[in-house]
Symmetry: C2
Subunit: 231 residues, 2 copies
């Protein structure tokens, strides 16, 4: 058995989890199967909707997430990451209950934002991630300017995310691209893709304008690979 195994608490949604898996493969310099980072992936999607809980008093996902964290531990994971930004509202609680190390997508992303050296930081994320201030506080602590979509535009960000989750990719891309433009019009020099569905939606544009974005999924994958190499 591999000494260390990265566990991914996913399923929020499955497409974002698969994207994270692909990014592990792409970022690992490997000459054969055995060179790749050992991963255990939980993509059990019956975790109650995070945004529904935070904003509308919907069912609390924490106990289900905790079960799946322990499932990953039981299967052999020695460090756990979550493929969902909004779920990080419960990160400190889950980390306290986990028997292994956990790495935060917010920490990993903020580190990459700081490394860009830019001042005006836009955010594409769910309503709930905005409401919890997960990113806003951390950005302003650094003396940087936080830029979010206006209310009308944020509604379309959410619509685009749920369109992707239901498989309507093209309409999703069109809507999200417009909201990205709205952020750059407001002066954003760098845009955090702060929902793990968004890097899937904007995948093509990320190839064209790599310096415009900080992809939270990629940031967390890089941070997990670093953890693995150090342990």
């Amino acid at each position: 058995m591999a000494k260390n195994v990265i566990g991914i608490l996913g399923g929020m949604g499955p497409a974002a989890t698969a994207d994270m898996f692909q990014k592990f493969i792409k970022l690992t310099p490997a000459h054969c199967d055995q060179d790749h980072i050992p991963l255990l992936i939980s993509s059990i999607p019956d975790i109650p909707d995070r945004t529904e809980c935070i904003l509308h008093g919907g069912e609390d996902p924490e106990s289900v997430m905790e079960k799946y964290v322990h499932g990953l531990e039981n299967a052999g994971a020695t460090c756990i990451i979550m493929a969902c930004n909004t779920a990080h509202y419960w990160f400190d609680h889950l980390k306290a209950k986990s028997h292994v190390d956990m790495l935060s997508i917010i920490d990993a992303t903020i580190d990459e934002v700081i490394a860009t050296g830019k001042q005006k930081i836009g955010l594409l994320a769910t309503d709930a991630t905005l409401a919890t201030g997960l990113y806003k506080k951390r950005i302003e602590e650094q003396g940087l300017t936080f830029i979010r979509p206006n209310e009308e535009s944020q509604k379309k960000v959410m619509e685009s995310i749920y369109l992707l989750k239901s498989g309507e990719t093209e309409h999703s891309i069109e809507l999200m691209s417009q909201q990205r433009d709205e952020l750059t019009k407001q002066g954003a020099e760098v845009i955090i893709l702060g929902c793990t569905e968004v890097p899937i939606i904007l995948a093509k544009d990320m190839e064209n304008q790599p310096h415009l974005y900080v992809d939270s999924t990629l940031a967390l994958v890089r941070s997990a690979i670093k953890w693995y190499q150090l342990h």
Copy 2:
């Protein structure tokens, strides 16, 4: 916790495992996260090379595979599938030791081959899958004609598979396409992609000529989705 969870014993290699994950997502009619099939994926790639063991007396992968099967069970999997054709050499042993149901990629693929109604069946697979006769016996039992690449061509099939595993995709595609043409020249009406790396290599051509291929990964995913819907 979801009542049933499909466990994927993967990592042989990781790219094939990610391809299987993506195929679950694509084949599931889902309107939201919660509609997707619950999956637990083990992509721990330190399983000794299957072909090396079968053909050259390399380290036996069975005990490591068994550990990871139990890891998936411990995390909550209630039915396990393996994202590797060659590994099915050990399928009966692993199934006997597993505490949950297991579905075979060979069974699933042969069912889809029969459903095509074609007589002349080509196979693109590893040397070891050929040597074990996993597919040949089953095809001939059905009164169908089994067609394999000639010796020179089979060397290139292997080269293409290992090129993909080391990330050299373009050269891998070029080589595999030539071997596919060699099989159709021999009269193959349908070609089994009987190594889970091969559907990745021939992904574009599968879109162009869907009726030429039976993709073992897709066949196993369809069989697992059917299992899930029945249980």
